[in-house]
């Protein structure tokens, strides 16, 4: 897929993430929007899985360790054909198959139940380890949050992945520089993620996390690299791609006010205009 097509994929994911959250009326806007480009690159090009191969053990796996980004994953899975658009708008409704945090037993296409932060990266590491033991060459992708890396368990998982040279594990770190209670540097200063992950034995690069092309190239390079687990630090903005939400101080879990809705609706309209013709397909 060409970069322009991946950019289109990102626009589609962003559009449906916004429409999905709009249908609910509130939710995890910030951390969903910041992973849109990463999801576009992963699901648009690199993750070898579709509805036909979902049960094939040789397919690639994806774990959204920062489970609160669920709405963006659901938008992506809908676009991949795992369920219908109607289902997308049942997010968090009573009896839904799309709970706030992903559940492998409820949602088609979801590989691991996440939401209790720190656990997804361990599970992804277990998947990668299991596949490596089996002699398979498939990849496990995992998106972790910058705030999530407060959890010590993540660093346990990194040590394990490094010790066992899990080159089939590609960790994408959504460094949007905010956690629920504020800027990460004010709560627990993460210092230098690249230096830390490198010290933990990862082949690590940092890229512009708002550039789907940059992420695509980084993943392609990560697949070439051997002998170490791979980390891609994504320099992102919480609320990415919707200027008004990016600028909102508290944008983790948003109950939009009138001004917010105006911006969200404008973003939806703009994306729909940009995607005219694509969506009709």
């Amino acid at each position: 897929m060409l970069a322009t097509q991946l950019e289109t994929a990102a626009k589609q994911i962003r559009l449906y993430t916004l429409k999905e959250l709009k249908a609910l009326g509130f939710g995890h806007f910030g951390g969903s929007l910041s992973i849109v480009e990463a999801l576009a690159a992963i699901y648009g090009k690199h993750l070898n899985v579709d509805t036909d191969t979902a049960n094939d053990p040789n397919r690639d796996y994806f774990v959204l360790s920062k489970g609160h980004g669920g709405p963006a994953l659901y938008a992506t899975l809908f676009l991949k054909g795992f369920f219908s658009e109607e289902v997308l708008y049942t997010l968090n409704q009573n009896g839904t198959t799309l709970p706030s945090h992903p559940d492998r037993n409820l949602t088609p296409g979801v590989d691991m139940t996440c939401g209790s932060l720190g656990q997804g990266i361990s599970a992804a590491t277990g998947i990668a380890y299991g596949n490596k033991l089996a002699g398979q060459d498939n990849y496990t992708f995992c998106i972790v949050g910058d705030g999530e890396l407060n959890e010590g368990q993540c660093w346990e998982a990194f040590q394990f992945a490094s010790h066992h040279k899990l080159e089939n594990l590609i960790v994408l770190l959504d460094d949007n520089k905010k956690q629920l209670d504020g800027p990460t540097k004010d709560i627990i200063d993460p210092l230098d993620f690249v230096a830390k992950l490198t010290a933990f034995g990862f082949e690590t690069v940092e890229v512009d996390g708002s550039s789907v092309d940059a992420i695509d190239k980084a993943i392609a390079q990560a697949k070439e690299n051997k002998g170490k687990p791979q980390a891609i630090v994504l320099d992102t903005i919480k609320g990415q791609g919707v200027k008004h939400l990016e600028e909102k101080a508290d944008n983790h879990h948003v109950r939009p006010n009138e001004e917010d809705w105006k911006a969200i609706n404008e973003a939806i309209e703009t994306l729909e205009e940009q995607l005219e013709g694509v969506l009709a397909k």
Binding site: N105, M112, Q119, S122, A123, T125, Y129, Q153
Partner: protein
């Protein structure tokens, strides 16, 4: 008649290591996981014997739980061991969310049950593990009292899938069963008309001794090895209680949330009778040898006798 309980030839940890090795040889999907306690559990030699089916994750129990979940997603069948408190108290949310809530499978073996932690003392002494595990939906909870039974429970957990927690001591135990024992139900080790003693783990031997002592005073006590803590084997319990109408429970665990609670809950809803619970009451663990600790926490045959006599005389 004076009861003589012989020590077994094998320690529980040897039984664990041998059983998981046997299962791993038959099934390449079995994977044995340790968190830096393989030397305590006799599984160290499995590293060489099972190069692709054994992993020592290091001192990271929380990570081990979620790793096991990921491994199970790829089809592996994980066996996890650590001291009981590290598996349950320390890694409870990981166990709960990554394994149980995600409906994945693992056999969890928590060793050094209760006072058997001896010289590791209060930090390492779990009187809460069965209580924690009983609150995990769909999890099975067992306390092994004998090597043959432990091997059976390990195989059962492997075959059934889901989350199974087996609580055990690590070292010597008494021999209660021969190899042909049918463990599908809780074991009635002794019949009696006056009181039912329901015990698990090391307290089964105490209950048998208590029954001997009671017999000398003309009190006929039934003894049940209730290794099925959850789901509780209510049928076997009820069969005896309908005859005796009185129950003493005995566990090397907090009286709250463990065997005693499970028995009380079952009887309250199905066949209310007077119950006395022998077990640890509102206390933490401490350093000491097992006989000292059993006396300190009132976990001896004499304590069971005292409770039974009080009940019977009512």
């Amino acid at each position: 008649m004076t009861l003589i309980l012989e020590k077994t030839e094998k320690e529980m940890r040897q039984v664990y290591a041998e059983t998981v090795y046997e299962l791993a040889q038959k099934d390449p999907q079995v994977i044995v996981m340790e968190a830096d306690l393989s030397s305590s559990m006799s599984t160290g030699s499995l590293k060489d014997k099972l190069p692709n089916q054994y992993v020592n994750v290091g001192i990271m129990e929380a990570n081990m739980m979620s790793l096991a979940a990921g491994l199970n997603i790829t089809g592996r069948k994980p066996f996890l061991h650590s001291f009981g408190q590290f598996l349950t108290r320390r890694a409870f949310d990981q166990l709960f969310v990554s394994l149980a809530y995600a409906k994945l499978s693992a056999v969890l073996v928590g060793s050094d049950a209760g006072v058997s932690a001896e010289h590791n003392g209060g930090t390492h002494m779990t009187f809460e593990d069965m209580g924690l595990m009983r609150s995990v939906p769909k999890a099975s909870v067992y306390e092994a009292s004998d090597p043959t039974q432990l091997a059976y429970l390990l195989k059962k957990g492997y075959e059934e899938g889901g989350v199974h927690y087996i609580r055990t001591i690590r070292k010597d135990t008494v021999k209660l069963y021969d190899e042909n024992t049918n463990f599908e139900k809780a074991q009635v080790l002794r019949d009696g008309e006056d009181v039912t003693l329901v015990a698990s783990g090391i307290m089964v031997a105490e209950a048998l001794q208590a029954a001997d002592m009671l017999a000398k005073e003309g009190i006929e006590a039934a003894v049940i090895d209730m290794f099925y803590i959850k789901p509780l084997d209510g049928e076997t319990l009820l069969n005896s209680v309908k005859k005796t109408g009185k129950v003493v429970t005995a566990e090397n665990h907090n009286v709250n949330n463990g065997l005693g609670s499970a028995v009380c809950e079952y009887l309250a809803e199905n066949y209310p009778v007077p119950v006395r619970r022998i077990g640890v009451k509102e206390q933490f663990g401490q350093v000491g040898l097992t006989p000292f600790l059993q006396e300190f926490y009132e976990l001896t045959a004499e304590d069971i006798v005292k409770a039974a006599k009080e009940l019977v005389s009512q």
